[in-house]
Symmetry: C2
Subunit: 199 residues, 2 copies
């Protein structure tokens, strides 16, 4: 146990995800030895975080203004929506440079064990966005796990009577992976979704 | 790339030791979803860090006052000094509950590649502490690596004319370790430092 502030800092850092007591101590002593300006900047950013970061009123992504950068971009295709669980998933899709539409961030996935039902997600907001008939296609890009699949199935049922084109990201072998090490479910999905190469 | 503050926070967190871009993003979103009080507390502790944490004028350990808790403790044996590299080494020795003397924190080890020579360490302060003849024994507890060994050898030479009892921590097999997996230098040291069991 250290004295006062340094121990407080170690305790606070130890609460962060993926930071154990050893890392917390290492980071604390790093900060103690670091340039005071660097430490101050981190402190200020943390103080600003809750005030400055907003949620985009349209898509639910993180934003600094009423509307996020993507929703505010006039070059985006407004007839296309990609539904994801979290803001970090938006970044993941953006990195592919494959998608030119807008997003809808649900804020999680259906998870009865954690007490998260459809009402806890931004599904009502999605249906409102689809009401005016501008959007033609919805791509479901929830995580390929139990909760994500359940959410996609739920959304599919909600959206099917609306006459939209609804699709889901392909499951299959990851690029650069090894067939031998693929789990049986992934390999099964890869078979199921196989693409015809000859006409 | 995210907008504004959230990206600033990810960038700042990514500078910390052992925190990569993925962890930085995870921590940033954890903080965004966390209780505002928790985030504020971390921000305040960081702001206080440089102001409140002092260096003990006697031993060089981290302290909240002029003198650290250990140096200020009258139950400590003032004839005994354990020399360590960093404040975290003080904590490591304290955890053993084997040592009842005081410490001297050098603030690093001799490392010519990083440009750290004896003058950059608190060696002058150590010699000043030893000048009045109260201290009888000095235990060198620098790290068992190249820089630590070099520092211990340097200190040994400086202290040997002073008529003190100078010792160094034992090198050997770590308790709970496996002889088979010990590196040859450690095993060599264990042979060199073997203890006679029969009289």
């Amino acid at each position: 146990m250290y004295d006062g502030v340094i121990q407080d800092l170690i305790d606070e850092l130890g609460q962060l995800p993926g930071v154990g007591p050893k890392s917390a101590q290492r980071i604390a002593f790093h900060l103690l030895a670091a340039d005071p300006e660097d430490v101050k900047r981190l402190s200020v950013v943390l103080a600003d975080l809750k005030e400055k970061v907003k949620i985009c009123t349209l898509c639910g992504n993180v934003a600094e203004t009423e509307m996020c950068r993507i929703c505010a971009d006039p070059r985006r295709d407004i007839t296309l929506i990609c539904v994801v669980e979290e803001p970090k998933d938006v970044q993941a899709v953006e990195r592919t440079r494959e998608f030119r539409g807008r997003y809808h961030v649900l804020g999680g996935a259906i998870n009865p064990i954690a007490g998260i039902g459809p009402d806890n997600l931004r599904i009502k907001e999605l249906l409102q966005r689809l009401a005016d008939g501008v959007v033609q296609e919805v791509i479901l890009a929830t995580d390929p796990n139990l909760e994500g699949e359940a959410t996609a199935t739920y959304l599919m049922r909600m959206l099917s009577p609306m006459g939209l084109h609804v699709s889901k990201l392909a499951s299959g072998l990851p690029v650069g992976g090894d067939l031998e090490y693929a789990d049986e479910i992934t390999l099964g999905r890869a078979f199921e979704g196989r693409r015809t190469l000859t006409s």
